[in-house]
């Protein structure tokens, strides 16, 4: 596969390390009342769609950016690639 890196252009996916569902960005609050359940669902019950999937890739053999790649798991078509940091900030994550 080819991942069109938003900063570097197209790169062979072999340069990247895959992590999984992009909702791993949304780490729960440890002080929540149901923190244990929230962390369980966060870590273990991830999206696994047959179709469009937002997922985290790390450009290990490149610029060390974490990317959020929107890819169709049936066709492998990639429709969007974003810097994970931007996605995280847009989700309200900060410090």
């Amino acid at each position: 596969m080819i991942i069109d890196h938003p900063l570097l252009g197209p790169r062979d996916s072999a340069e990247f390390v895959y992590l999984g569902d992009a909702c791993l960005i949304e780490r729960p609050d440890w002080q929540d009342e149901n923190a244990l359940d929230a962390f369980h669902d966060y870590l273990y019950l991830r999206d696994n769609p047959a179709g469009e999937h937002r997922e985290l890739w790390f450009h290990e053999q490149g610029d060390r950016s974490w990317l959020v790649v929107t890819r169709n798991t049936l066709t492998h078509e990639i429709t969007k690639v974003e810097l994970a940091r931007d996605v995280a900030r847009a989700l309200g994550r900060s410090k």
Partner: protein, 189 residues
Amino acid sequence: MSDTALYPTPALGGYRADKDGIVVEELTRLAVVSIATPLDGDKALDAAMQKSFGTTPPAPGKVTISKDGKTRFLGMAPGQIFAVFNHDRPDAEKRLAETLSGSAYTTDQTDVWVALRVGGESVVAVLERICPLDLHPDAFPADRCARTVMEHMAAIVLRDGEDGFVLLTARSSARSFLHAVEVSVENVL
């Protein structure tokens, strides 16, 4: 305290070979210092670099060159650039840190890497055996850089001219990397 000063040992012993016009040589005097931009510190770093080097930090994959032509800045990642210049004392980072006077976090990378320069007319044919990047001059012109992987080894590729590349690779695996380049030269020429 010891009476003898420590001497430096180049990782590849100052290797140089010339086969049918392809020259492979270890650049032993190259210093590499990483410059990390503090959060929200882009403007300050811009200003400091403009003042000290007459240039600006490059975007990832791009290269800028100091006004005196002596220092290349390689855009490595968002908020991270490498300064590459000739300097053979172990204080490159300290010097650069002073120059930038607190506008960035600096880390010496000189000894992390070994620099090999590969040059010659058929250099692209040699490198296409190990390098997955498109090195066609339209796609990867002079003064462009990229980090990639070759023969299972991480490498930074800098094109320093039409027929020349500087390859930075981890010091610990330098011998294996040189072997990979040598085999490519053998196989192609």
